[in-house]
């Protein structure tokens, strides 16, 4: 048997063992693929500081009345490809490093965070962080960018 055939069989054995160990470990620990869905995804708690979820109609009303600033929690790459017109990009992963963006957000207006949509959680996490940073009026546009795009509402692209 050639070296390659032996190595190929050994590789397959390692992959099989990894599959078994990986899935058993995550199952026993209740992590990763077997993790319980995060409860805060829909329920944001009862604290007065918790951000409230708004639907597309309310988001559009606030957009048209210019009473709110939209904060895009997605990555800069996605933001550049397209975002709600007038939105400010503040990726959740860069919240700590982008203190200048946080401090530039208006405290006298409502902030509306959004990400891609129901499949992402970063809009909620970003809203919580903004409240912790002292912003009193923060809402989450939960159906996010996907819904905004589907409704063909005003968007902007950064070159």
């Amino acid at each position: 048997m050639t070296r390659f055939h032996t190595a190929w069989r050994e590789s397959l054995a390692i992959i099989l063992c990894s599959l078994v160990l990986g899935f058993s470990h995550t199952f026993v620990q209740g992590k990763g693929i077997f993790a319980q869905p995060a409860p805060q995804r829909i329920s944001l708690g009862t604290s007065s500081a918790a951000p409230s979820i708004i639907d597309i109609q309310e988001a559009l009303n606030l957009f048209q009345s210019e009473e709110a600033v939209f904060v895009d929690a997605r990555h800069e790459y996605d933001f550049k490809l397209g975002h709600i017109r007038g939105a400010i990009n503040l990726p959740l992963a860069e919240f700590e490093t982008k203190a200048d963006v946080v401090s530039s957000l208006p405290k006298n207006k409502t902030l509306i965070t959004y990400c891609d949509g129901a499949e992402c959680n970063s809009s909620i996490e970003l809203a919580t962080k903004l409240i912790e940073s002292g912003f009193s009026s923060v809402k989450v546009f939960y159906s996010g960018w996907n819904e905004w795009q589907n409704q063909r509402l005003p968007v902007a692209v950064t070159q």
Partner: protein
Amino acid sequence: MAESKASGGGDAIMLKRFLSNEFNVLTARLFLGSLLLVASIDKIADPAAFARSIEEYRLLAGPVVMVFATVIPWVELLCGLSMVFGAVIPGSALLMGSLLGVFTLAVLSALLRGLDIGCGCFSQDPAAARIGWLKVGENIVLMLISAFLYFAPSIRFSLEHYLMHRHKNP
């Protein structure tokens, strides 16, 4: 002509000697093995964070990401153990070389798309090492070490060597 042939033969002998030097093989095994063990720990402890790191590359989505995040850390752990203890080395080297090739392509693709994201290689903290050309270089060096271990015939200082001798001289 004869001189160049002789020089070519000399290079081949040098390469063969380098490949068969048991201390070179041991050093490469311990280096790559310990690196893989360190890389796997954070990912095994928090597969969801590793899944987020994979998602950042925007190449895979949904359940595929979770399957990768569940299995890859264990591949790294098993390959790391195999290298450190010296068992099924060609298989581990082939697997790691192939995986590193895939990781390098992912990093290259992200760099070409202008993504500024965390590597997700050793730590899942988004503020930790970002991807860059240095990461591509590092991966290429690790692929060369994997290739070296794949072709190296020496199994001295390994579990396989110990078991073979024990079997021959019980």
